[in-house]
């Protein structure tokens, strides 16, 4: 409980707050840190997300030492190392080790140049035309693992490949806002946009550049051996081998352009069972519990590990858990029913009972650590079963013989589905089921495997309600989830599977992406969050917090809620 915070310097000289997370972190303390961080951000006039002060760490004391290996346990297996191909989080982590993007997002949401020599801004002439023209200067010392120089042609090729209709590229979102991209010289990339698009910088922080000189010769990029057998990147680590079903070995790229790498080897070990993973962490067989980390139920056990052996880090995430209501169902078209369900929801057994106070209650999709978070929605939700009952009475739902409300002969009953096998979600469902029964609502549990749930059942809006986690990502734009133009069953291209159609929300979302001034965007998203808090297309429950166990000897591991995997700065990790 000593050393709560100390100031430290990370590799790039940015000041970040440091905390000893072996200390017990209570929810109150978390909130205090968040408040302090928010205040600091305002004072420093920083743009970008301010990380929860107590939740990041860096090491200032000793100079990095070279050598050693780190083994990270993963509960899912990375199976494709080409960053163009569809990915899940664990896979993205390996992409981060092997490849580089133009810039990175740090835990505070600031952009850090990586392949770019500097971040383009209006001030330095990198952004022109009111946000429609971009010029990016590249660093001149970046090389591919095979020794070839990394040039502007590679960047252009990467964008073209993402947009290539014959390539099963993971995404065209944001990339399709770019109208043209070209390379006036080897170290300059120039691109133009059809219209200003505020999330672009965040999108490009996730565009990992692939080698043109190798992939342009590929007969079929989708099935190339590059993807699984010999990926060639420019990152801090080089690919050595993938023993399928067991582990992936990477070794240091000693001619890396950035700081580091300090480790000799980075191994990713596939351990499908989280309990087994924790056992191996406790037995010192692995150094990091990756992506899904330590299950909340094992957190008390993790805290008992000696300080000299392990650190337990809490990472706030941009994902929030909510009940998504399908607006195709007349039941949920009635706002009073949605509000009644929310008033009938007591989050305390979830936040305190299941999560032992580690997570925060959510009232909005924007995580509290984001610059776009609207503090006024805090407390918008209260547990008030009497009010819930009144709302339902007013809406014409009256208690039936079995205690479940009835209107025009229809019972107030619906199915709730989530991914089967997810313990925490199953527990939340059972708690909500019991709570809602008390206001006369019958929620039936009907779970299915993730691969079924997220198939047509979810995509084509065949569900009634689902309990899911939705990630905001580093930018507060939520168009693909909430805009009426992005409803899949109406032919939309997005993820608005709840079929939410609210003109006011549409208008705010459109305004948010076309505005590049952050202060003005903040006002737009604050308004949006207040509208959503009343209209309730989703019933937010809590904001995710990742629990990661890290070997106490490992320095530099820094949780970052703006990226999907902790590997974002693996080049600066070292073993004490």
């Amino acid at each position: 409980m000593s050393r709560h915070h100390r100031e430290g310097q990370d590799e790039r000289g940015d000041t970040v707050r440091v905390s000893d997370l072996r200390a017990r972190v209570t929810r109150r303390r978390l909130l205090r840190h968040a408040a302090a961080a928010a205040g600091g951000a305002a004072a420093a006039g920083l743009v970008g997300t301010q990380a929860l002060g107590g939740l990041t760490e860096a090491f200032a004391a000793a100079a990095p030492r070279r050598g050693g290996q780190v083994i990270e346990g993963l509960s899912q297996e990375p199976v494709n190392f080409n960053p163009i191909m569809p990915w899940i989080e664990v896979q993205r982590g390996v992409h981060m080790d092997l490849f580089d993007a133009l810039w990175k997002l740090d835990p505070a949401g600031r952009l850090i140049p990586n392949l770019a020599a500097e971040i383009p801004t209006v001030a330095n002439g990198g952004i022109t035309g009111g946000g429609t023209g971009y010029t990016v200067k590249l660093r001149r010392n970046a090389r591919w693992h095979d020794g070839q120089p990394l040039t502007a042609r590679d960047v252009v090729f990467t964008w073209q490949t993402l947009m290539n209709p014959k390539v099963t590229s993971f995404s065209t979102v944001g990339y399709d806002q770019i109208a043209t991209m070209d390379a006036p010289d080897d170290y300059t990339v120039h691109f133009t946009l059809k219209e200003p698009y505020a999330p672009l910088m965040a999108v490009l922080s996730d565009m990992y550049v692939v080698p043109e000189h190798i992939l342009s010769k590929s007969a079929d990029i989708n099935k190339d051996d590059f993807n699984t057998k010999h990926p060639v990147g420019s990152g801090a680590f080089k690919f050595v081998e993938w023993a399928a079903g067991d582990h992936i070995t990477l070794e240091a790229n000693r001619v890396y352009h950035g700081p580091g790498p300090y480790l000799d080897r980075l191994v990713r070990k596939y351990i499908p069972d989280l309990t087994v993973m924790f056992t191996q962490f406790r037995n010192r067989e692995i150094d990091i519990t990756g992506t899904q980390g330590i299950p909340i139920d094992l957190y008390p056990e993790a805290k008992k590990l000696p300080a000299a052996q392990a650190k337990v880090l809490l990472t706030p995430s941009t994902t929030y858990e909510s009940i998504a209501l399908n607006f195709m169902n007349p039941l949920f078209q009635d706002r009073r029913v949605r509000q009644a369900l929310y008033y009938g929801m007591d989050k305390r057994p979830i936040v305190n009972g299941i999560f032992q106070g580690l997570v925060q209650e959510a009232e909005t999709y924007v995580p509290p650590q984001s610059w776009a978070y609207d503090p006024r929605v805090k407390g918008a939700h209260k547990y008030n079963p009497d009010l819930a009952k009144q709302l339902l009475d007013r809406s014409g739902w009256t208690p039936g013989p079995d205690g479940i409300r009835v209107k025009n002969g229809q019972r107030l009953a619906f199915d709730n589905s989530t991914t089967s096998g997810n313990k925490v979600r199953e527990q939340i469902q059972q708690i909500l089921q019991q709570q809602w029964r008390q206001i006369g609502v019958d929620m039936r549990i009907s779970n299915m495997p993730a691969s079924v749930l997220f198939g047509d059942f979810y995509r084509l809006s065949r569900f009634q309600t689902v309990l899911i986690g939705i990630a905001m990502g580093p930018d507060p734009d939520h168009t693909f989830r909430l805009h009426s133009k992005y409803i899949p069953i109406r032919g939309g291209k997005g993820r608005n599977a709840i079929v939410y159609d609210n003109p006011e929300v549409d208008r705010l979302l459109d305004a948010g992406v076309r505005e590049i001034d952050q202060a003005k965007r903040k006002a737009i998203y604050a308004h949006l969050q207040e509208v959503l808090a009343v209209d309730l297309p989703h019933l937010p429950i809590y904001h995710y917090v990742g629990i990661t166990g890290v070997n106490a000897r490992l320095a530099g591991y820094t949780p970052n809620s703006n990226v999907v995997d902790g590997s974002w700065n693996s080049n600066t990790w070292w073993m004490r």
Partner: protein, 317 residues
């Protein structure tokens, strides 16, 4: 006998077609799909998923997909994994050695322990040993193998630290036989002991049956030493039918291996099957079903052939 083998092989062909068709239809008519794992990826939209599905041919009618797949399979190409874009044959084959290592060790444990306890139980029938070993074998048949594995991990790995809690080798360390065996001990021990129960029961009743045969009585009557009667006349003859058991049990062993691999994070085909199911990687699931069926059929054919060689009284028809 060669003719018999050929006929059995020919009979297997419609069987495999049947298996592939049943499996294909079940997989494709069910909800979900290989793209669902990406549904929570914040940068992939519905449009991206449809574009990828189209490129992978997942939007074609089921019968078209089956014909394409079957045509490829006939030429020895089982298609590409939807998750990795790699050829299915390679994806499966690289997992086979780990599973074989596990199964062979477990078989060895099961046969040695099973035969020894089975023979002793039969010869010393109604002895204290028999009274303990026979119900113990039944417990082995009744215990859920994953629970057994879990108990082994809790006790031997987490509490006593005698064995690692999972994986096939210590990462980063140079290859050493001791390390390899330590990793193998848990899963092979669990799987082997589980199979021992079956072997011991079969062996016991087989020996008992032979002990009742005329020629054993004759041998005893001739005044042959009990050891000779037992080893040369009884056990040898009793073990021959067990060869069939080895063939028949192959299927159960494969099923047991799947569960054991999951509990001990063993990187074999059982683990691959579960991962492919979780991701609805249809082509790999189909490939595994087909290849495991081939293995099961081959196992029973080999057992029959071997039985015929070992026991001249058996004639293959």
């Amino acid at each position: 006998m060669a003719a018999y083998a050929v006929r059995r092989l020919l009979q297997a062909v419609p069987l495999l077609v049947g298996i592939s068709f049943v499996a294909f239809v079940i997989l494709r008519l069910a909800p979900g799909g290989p793209m669902a794992v990406y549904a929570q990826n914040p940068s992939m939209t519905e449009a991206d998923m449809r574009r990828i599905e189209h490129l992978l041919g997942l939007d074609q009618p089921v019968y078209v997909q089956y014909v394409k797949w079957a045509a490829g399979t006939l030429t020895g190409h089982l298609g590409y994994s939807y998750r990795t874009g790699r050829p299915v044959g390679g994806v499966i084959l690289e997992r086979v050695p780990a599973t074989l290592e596990l199964m062979a060790t477990a078989y060895l444990v099961a046969i040695v322990l099973g035969v020894v306890t089975g023979v002793i139980s039969a010869v010393k029938r109604y002895s204290v040993f028999d009274y303990i070993a026979t119900p113990a074998a039944m417990i082995g048949l009744s215990i859920p193998i994953f629970w057994f594995g879990l108990l082994v991990i809790i006790y031997f790995a987490a509490t006593l630290h005698w064995i690692p809690s999972g994986g096939i080798a210590t990462l980063g360390a140079p290859f050493s036989l001791g390390d390899r065996l330590a990793h193998l001990a848990g899963p092979a021990g669990v799987l082997g002991l589980w199979m021992t129960a079956t072997w011991s029961r079969y062996c016991r009743s087989s020996v008992l049956e032979v002990l009742g045969q005329d020629y054993v009585r004759t041998a005893r009557a001739k005044g042959l030493r009990e050891r000779v009667v037992l080893m040369r006349h009884t056990v040898r003859n009793a073990l021959i039918p067990l060869v069939t058991l080895a063939g028949l049990e192959f299927r159960n062993l494969l099923g047991g291996a799947l569960v054991t691999e999951t509990v001990f994070s063993w990187p074999g085909i059982g683990r691959l099957y579960l991962d492919s199911l979780n991701n609805q990687d249809y082509s790999v699931i189909l490939g595994l079903l087909l290849m495991s069926s081939v293995a099961v059929l081959a196992g029973s054919l080999l057992a029959d052939l071997f039985y015929a060689v070992a026991d001249p009284r058996v004639r293959l028809a």
